[in-house]
Amino acid sequence: MLLHYKCPSCGSDMRFDSESGRLSCDSCGRHEHIDTYEDDYITQQFEEDEAKEYHCKNCGAVVLTDADTTSTSCSFCGAGVVLADRLTGKLAPTMVIPFTISKDEAMQAFKKWCKNGRLTPKGFMTANRVKGITGMYVPFWMYDLENDVEVEATATKVKTYRRGDYRYTETRYYDVYRDIDVNYLKVPVDASEKMNDELMDKLEPYHYNELKDFKTPYLAGYLAEKYNYTDKELFGRVKEKIKTFIDSYVASTISGYSSVQYKHKDIRTRQRKSYYVLLPVWMVYYDFDKQEHTFAMNGQTGKIVGKPPLSYGKAALWFSGIAGGTFVVLKSIAMFLGGGLL
């Protein structure tokens, strides 16, 4: 099933506008609020299930899609198309964070970021070789997690003092036990096979106050994917992800000691809820030195991640600058205190 969003005034195709957060019509400039946009204007078109080809209702061209795509644009007329049958039933997202950064803003931000690259080769900074920039809703699972943590540790407090001609080092050993309940809300893990997990993890955090109930018009004009992994399959990954959080929290509850040695740490994690959400990401494909580099930008906050090429010359320059500067400073302090030049 293909969804088109028609403008109530002129009948053109509407798409989601990140600036106003509404559907907008490029022809007549009309804005429609997503909550009040009437279903009558959504034209539906049924196609064979699991097809990878759709006929654009607008111009009749064949829209080719990937098996995971849930939203795309017709490559001929540019009309935003949502593939609704891939967004229903088990595949229906519960929530979405809409784009707040437009394509132009994303492009500007990316160019600026390229210029600020202190270790990137000179040619990289011009950023005129962007091959493509794609706004994409990436499927994520968000987990509400309950953790019951039990920790036993041996901790020490060390005190040194001087009495007469002797220096005493007193070490006091403590048996430490903590039973901790720690809960996390909406920890996201990307559920798309195509997306690099490391890249997606670095895109966080998203601001959840803009989390909206899912409605298909948000996707109009963007690319969207459906999940490849279920929440059960990704539970291991989210557990791995919160492990460092739990470790730091546990450590913060055992304070005032000189050293802490854990004897055992039991973490029981239960999944209270999971949500299927779509989060906005700008993907930038960039050609440099015959290599393609992929960058991702958080479509809500503008945070950019991705490994840019490294200029060894610049790295060496920074290294010698910092090392040389440090040496001069140290030497000056030493000479001020009376040390010799050599």
């Binding site: 050993y173 036990y177 309940d181 959080f245 929290y249 910092i322 040496f327």
Partner: protein, 257 residues
């Protein structure tokens, strides 16, 4: 006007030679040859002028029952040396020569303003450096080393150990390289963006707490180490500071060689 110039010239003509002309080497034990003695005299005068501390070398094989420190103190009381006034800033190297090794002593003492930069600890450091040279019978080199080190230490802030690692060039170089490597390394590491979420990002404050805790004291151990006093190396040393019988305070260090 001419008279004035003349007065000035006379003033300089008299004051500088008076300080430079003073004897610096009193070689009663005849440890130096005449040329060596002349050389030391000249060096001592140069160093004294440069560091504004009167440098003196005393040698003796008969101290009349006194140890090297007492001998040096008495010399200071009687002769009253000093860079710009009597009983002023002075550093004295005293060598007590004897036939048997256990009776030989070396004393380093500082009097007046020089005390501030030549603390007991520093005098111990210098003494330990020159003692082996003395043991080898190389008295001239030991005296030269003494001048050299005293002059060097006088430049160094009293709160800093002059032989400390911080003043060593190799150490400064190593620190600089490590700082550069760490900074550039973290720049490279963070080039692709950093993970900026932590425990606080997703925690549910209302439902997270320590339910049960226990901090029970089990036992304690006490280690005791003797605080090393730096005066027992190279043939034994003795407390260096104190007072001369004439009432002048001093810092210093005495030991065998």
């Amino acid at each position: 006007m001419r008279k004035l110039v003349l007065v000035f010239l006379l003033f300089f003509a008299f004051t500088i030679p008076v300080m430079a002309d003073g004897q610096h080497v009193y070689d009663d034990a005849a440890l130096f040859t005449d040329t060596e003695k002349a050389e030391l005299e000249q060096l001592a005068a140069q160093y004294s002028e440069k560091s504004e501390v009167e440098l003196i070398v005393l040698t003796s094989d008969d101290m009349g029952g006194r140890n090297a420190t007492e001998y040096a103190n008495d010399f200071y009381d009687d002769a009253g040396p000093g860079y710009d006034h009597s009983h002023g800033s002075t550093a004295i190297l005293t060598i007590k020569m004897a036939d048997t090794k256990q009776d030989r002593e070396v004393d380093l003492g500082a009097y007046g303003v020089a005390k501030e930069h030549l603390s007991d600890e520093r005098m111990i450091q210098i003494r330990e450096m020159i003692a082996p040279t003395l043991t080898d019978g190389n008295f001239v080199d030991a005296a030269k080393q003494f001048f050299d080190k005293v002059e060097e230490y006088l430049e160094v802030n009293p709160n800093v150990n002059p032989e400390g690692i911080f003043l060593k060039t190799w150490f400064q170089l190593a620190v600089a390289l490590v700082v550069g490597a760490v900074v550039v390394g973290s720049m490279i590491f963070n080039m692709g963006g950093r993970v900026t979420v932590n425990h606080g990002t997703y925690v549910d404050q209302q439902n997270s707490r320590v339910v049960n805790k226990r901090d029970r004291f089990i036992r304690k151990t006490v280690h005791k180490t003797k605080i090393q006093k730096n005066n027992n190396k190279s043939g034994g040393g003795f407390g260096g500071g104190g007072m001369t019988s004439g009432g002048h305070s001093r810092t210093g260090s005495r030991g065998g060689f």
